[in-house]
């Protein structure tokens, strides 16, 4: 009877535990991969990159998903040697990252998700993945940006840097052939970056502005409207000289 009681108790304990359990080891193993990113065999049949991307699913605990973001960011450089593996996961990663960004409340968490997104775009571009970022995926990347910008107020203001970083990566990716598609989105945000409360964005705004101008084949009226900001900024040069 004592043995049976012990077994029943153990079953009940396990049942009780599973109802309330946290994904302790799941989170920790993902974290461990970020610590040993340079030793992860990206080509392993176990598909570590795929497993990490699947962890971004909304079915998972936010702590696990944020750990997966950290781990993915660490492992990205390993994909340079096997870019096809990275290209294969981009389509599912983009919406998952935006969903996680929306679900998070802390600006550090949201910024980490957007940082990963801009890093992915950069690595795809560097590894010749022009086919990986189709127009549909590019639209999925840039569509939420104006909304994120508009809602990035008060303690979330720093997210505007992430938006500019993503736009900069997308601009570099699309190149001179499609840069004009970004004008309606990017140029107003660049203009807004010179507003008084956004002074910390000026450097990032100038970088993307420079990228866009270099990629632009011809003059455009929208670009011309922005030039008034250059005149204002040139006054700052007097302080440097």
């Amino acid at each position: 009877m004592h043995f049976v009681y012990g077994t029943i108790l153990t079953i009940l304990l396990l049942f009780f535990y599973q109802i309330q359990q946290l994904p302790i080891l799941r989170r920790r193993i993902i974290w461990l991969m970020s610590c040993n990113a340079n030793q992860v065999n990206i080509s392993s049949p176990l598909n570590p990159l795929g497993m990490l991307v699947s962890t971004l699913s909304a079915l998972n605990d936010i702590c696990v998903r944020l750990t997966a973001v950290q781990s993915l960011d660490a492992i990205l450089p390993q994909c340079e040697d096997v870019p096809s593996i990275l290209h294969s996961v981009v389509e599912s990663t983009v919406p998952a990252l935006y969903q996680l960004t929306n679900e998070c409340a802390e600006v550090e968490s949201r910024s980490a998700c957007l940082d990963l997104l801009s890093n992915i775009i950069t690595y795809v571009g560097v590894t010749g993945g022009s086919h990986a970022l189709t127009n549909e995926i590019l639209n999925a990347i840039v569509a939420p940006l104006s909304s994120i910008w508009a809602n990035a107020t008060d303690q979330n203001l720093l997210l505007r840097r992430n938006v500019l970083a993503i736009l900069s990566c997308v601009a570099a990716f699309v190149g001179s052939e499609q840069i004009t598609v970004l004008y309606p989105l990017a140029l107003p945000l660049i203009d807004d970056s010179f507003a008084h409360e956004n002074v910390f964005l000026v450097e990032d705004a100038l970088k993307i502005w420079c990228t866009i101008i270099r990629l632009s084949k011809t003059y455009d009226q929208m670009l011309g409207k922005l030039f008034v900001r250059a005149a204002e900024l040139s006054k700052d040069l007097n302080l440097i000289m």
Binding site: G6, T7, L9, T10, I11, L13, L14, Y17, Q18, I19, Q20, Q21, L22, P23, I24, L25, R26, R28, I29, I30, W31, L32, M33, S34, C35, N36, Q39, V40, N41, S44, L46, P48, M51, S54, T55, L59, N60, D61, I62, C63, V64, L66, T67, C104, A105, E106, E108, S109
Partner: protein, 616 residues
């Protein structure tokens, strides 16, 4: 000095302060009064400060029934604080070329003398009398002086103000401040000792004793404020001044302050006076004073072998060690559950722990001769932390200051690069850190890594203050993630444990034991599998004994009621250690992350991701 215009101004200032401090005054009236005070300060700085000094000495016999002398005194000293911040010294602020009206040297001398006199004797001087008279007999003190001596808010603010003046004046001016205060401590200690001896014959001396205890407290509090303020000054001339002060005045402070105050506290098992407020507060103050002096001058004090100063340092650290060895295990064990008693003694212990940790960290080589006793003390206290209460569960207060002090001290010792160049230090460390000590310590550390995931605490009332706002994973996963990222080894037990383990892994003293032990743990694939299958919900039923036998660190009593959870948390801790030590493990024989991932870790993660167990 007291001309009719000064008396008029004093009356106006008193009236303005009365308006500001009385509740019927409207906001406009208060603003008007404040404006008037600023205007007087600007136009008649010396007379204004003189008026405030006079009001600081206002006693109940000189005010009307509707006024409160204590309130007016407090308002006067606070106003004086603001004025002195603006008018004492030209700090180079404000518009270039604008004339600055500062206090004259005469009024500054009066301020210094008045404040010292207020603290030592409760007397506010109106004449510039250079001689300070200490009170040695209760018959010498008037009712007015008694009122000022026992006015705690006034004395506290006067001490704070004096420390600000000291910061601006020392070391070029006001050099008699610290000697005067130390002499005051010596005198009042002598009087108290005499009275306490007399009390054994006459029992009606309690009031006199309390009076001199109050005076001693005021002086010691002032000294602590001053030393605290000047300890942050970084110029060479300031450091040299602090060295000189410590060399000259540490002996009388120890003899007349630290030793008697710690003796008065007693020991946990007998003669304990931790219920006596004055005893505890005074002991805390003297401990802080000694701490300031030791921290600023330890290298000078301990640097010369065979000198009298090293004997003094030995005496102080031996005293602190014997105090801690009595109280630290007591306060860290479940015996110290009387919450009203714990707080004051905890404060004293913390001051001493912080002193030792900081001394070792900032002067590691000079501290070598004291390594052995403090290593034994902090190590044994840490190991005794893992004691059980009546339920058989471990006390787990994540922000327990003493546990953190123990962990910090051990981490600083183990991780000190300068000890690699010192034969004496290497010998001490090799003798203390035997393989069994290293292993048992490492095992204890791993048990502390993950205790914040599923808190398992005894209600400790006041100890819950620090943990009341701590984020729980179950309640706020995102907040929990950010909490783990941002926590510091100086205020979190888990993080401090990780810090110590990392130091152990990197140190030549212990890495030879810790790394092979970690590798051996990581090769226990069977236990990992059981843990993963429990989390993944693969097991429908499993014998409790089977789980216990799978525990890689053995039963730790952390979660004796839930061995399945304990298994998971132990593996969480081991994986955390593997992650922290990843760079050291890279070259460890028998370990290769990529092979381990392919063989064990990857399949475990795959199983978890594919499992149907609840994930959120």
């Amino acid at each position: 000095m007291a001309s009719s215009s000064s008396i008029d101004l004093q009356a106006h200032v008193q009236s303005a302060l009365q308006c500001i401090t009385s509740s019927p005054s409207s906001p406009d009236m208060i603003k008007q009064a404040q404006g008037a005070l600023l205007q007087w300060e600007e136009s008649h700085a010396d007379e204004y400060v003189f008026a405030l000094l006079s009001l600081i000495g206002l006693t109940s016999d000189r005010v009307t029934a509707t006024q409160s002398a204590a309130t007016l005194r407090l308002a006067a000293v606070l106003s004086l604080k603001s004025s002195i911040a603006r008018k004492w010294k030209d700090k180079g602020r404000g518009k270039v070329g604008a004339p600055k009206i500062l206090l004259s040297e005469h009024i500054k001398t009066l301020v210094r003398q008045t404040l010292i006199s207020l603290i030592l004797t409760g007397k506010v001087k109106h004449q510039n009398q250079p001689i300070i008279v200490y009170i040695t007999n209760s018959n010498d003190i008037t009712a007015q002086q008694l009122e000022l001596v026992t006015d705690r808010p006034l004395q506290t603010n006067a001490a704070a103000l004096l420390s600000k003046v000291a910061r601006m004046d020392l070391p070029l001016k006001f050099q008699d401040l610290i000697p005067t205060l130390v002499e005051g401590i010596t005198v009042s200690h002598g009087v108290l000792r005499q009275m306490q001896q007399q009390q054994q014959q006459q029992s009606n001396m309690q009031q006199e004793i309390q009076l001199f205890q109050t005076i001693s407290y005021n002086i010691m509090n002032c000294l602590e404020n001053v030393l605290s303020e000047i300890s942050t000054q970084r110029l060479l001339v300031d450091k040299k001044y602090r060295h000189a002060i410590a060399l000259q005045y540490l002996p009388p402070i120890v003899e007349n302050g630290l030793i008697p105050s710690l003796q008065a506290v007693g020991s946990p098992r007998e003669n304990s006076n931790i219920g006596e407020e004055y005893v505890m507060v005074y002991a805390t103050l003297t401990s802080r004073v000694v701490s300031h002096m030791m921290l600023s001058s330890f290298s000078k004090l301990a640097g010369e072998d065979g000198s009298t100063t090293i004997t003094l340092v030995d005496q102080i650290l031996t005293l602190i060690h014997s105090f801690l060895i009595q109280w630290l295990p007591y306060i860290m064990s479940c015996d110290g559950n009387n919450n009203t008693m714990r707080k004051p003694i905890k404060e004293i212990i913390q001051v001493h722990c912080d002193l030792i940790v900081e001394l070792q960290k900032s002067h590691p080589i000079a501290f070598v001769r004291y390594l052995k006793p403090f290593l034994e003390l902090f190590h044994s206290s840490l190991m005794s932390f893992m004691t059980t209460n009546n339920n058989g569960n471990i006390l787990c207060n994540f922000s327990d200051r003493f546990t953190i002090s123990c962990l910090l001290f051990l981490a600083n010792v183990v991780g000190c690069s300068k000890y690699g160049e010192s034969d004496a230090a290497q010998n001490e460390l090799r003798v203390f850190f035997t393989p069994s000590v290293i292993q048992s310590l490492s095992r204890t550390l791993l048990c502390l890594f993950s205790c914040h995931i599923y808190p398992n605490k005894v209600n400790n009332n006041e100890d819950d203050e620090d943990d009341a706002d701590r984020v729980q994973w179950q309640d706020d996963p995102e907040g929990f993630y950010q909490y783990e990222v941002l926590r510091s080894s100086e205020d979190d037990v888990g993080c401090a444990s990780q810090n110590l383990l990392l130091a152990s892994v990197e140190s030549s003293v212990s890495s030879g034991v810790v790394i092979p032990w970690l590798v051996e743990l990581l090769t226990n694939a069977a236990s990992q599998r059981v843990a993963v299958e429990i989390e993944g919900g693969v097991y429908v039923s499993i014998d409790e004994n089977a789980i216990i036998s799978a525990l890689p660190l053995g039963p730790s009593k952390m979660y004796s009621e839930n061995v399945a959870l304990e298994l998971l948390l132990q593996w969480d801790a081991i994986y955390t250690a593997a992650g922290l030590a990843c760079s050291m493990l890279e070259n460890a024989p028998g370990y290769a992350f990529s092979s381990w991932y392919d063989a064990s870790l990857g399949p475990c993660l795959k199983l978890l991701l594919e499992s149907k167990s609840q994930v959120r």
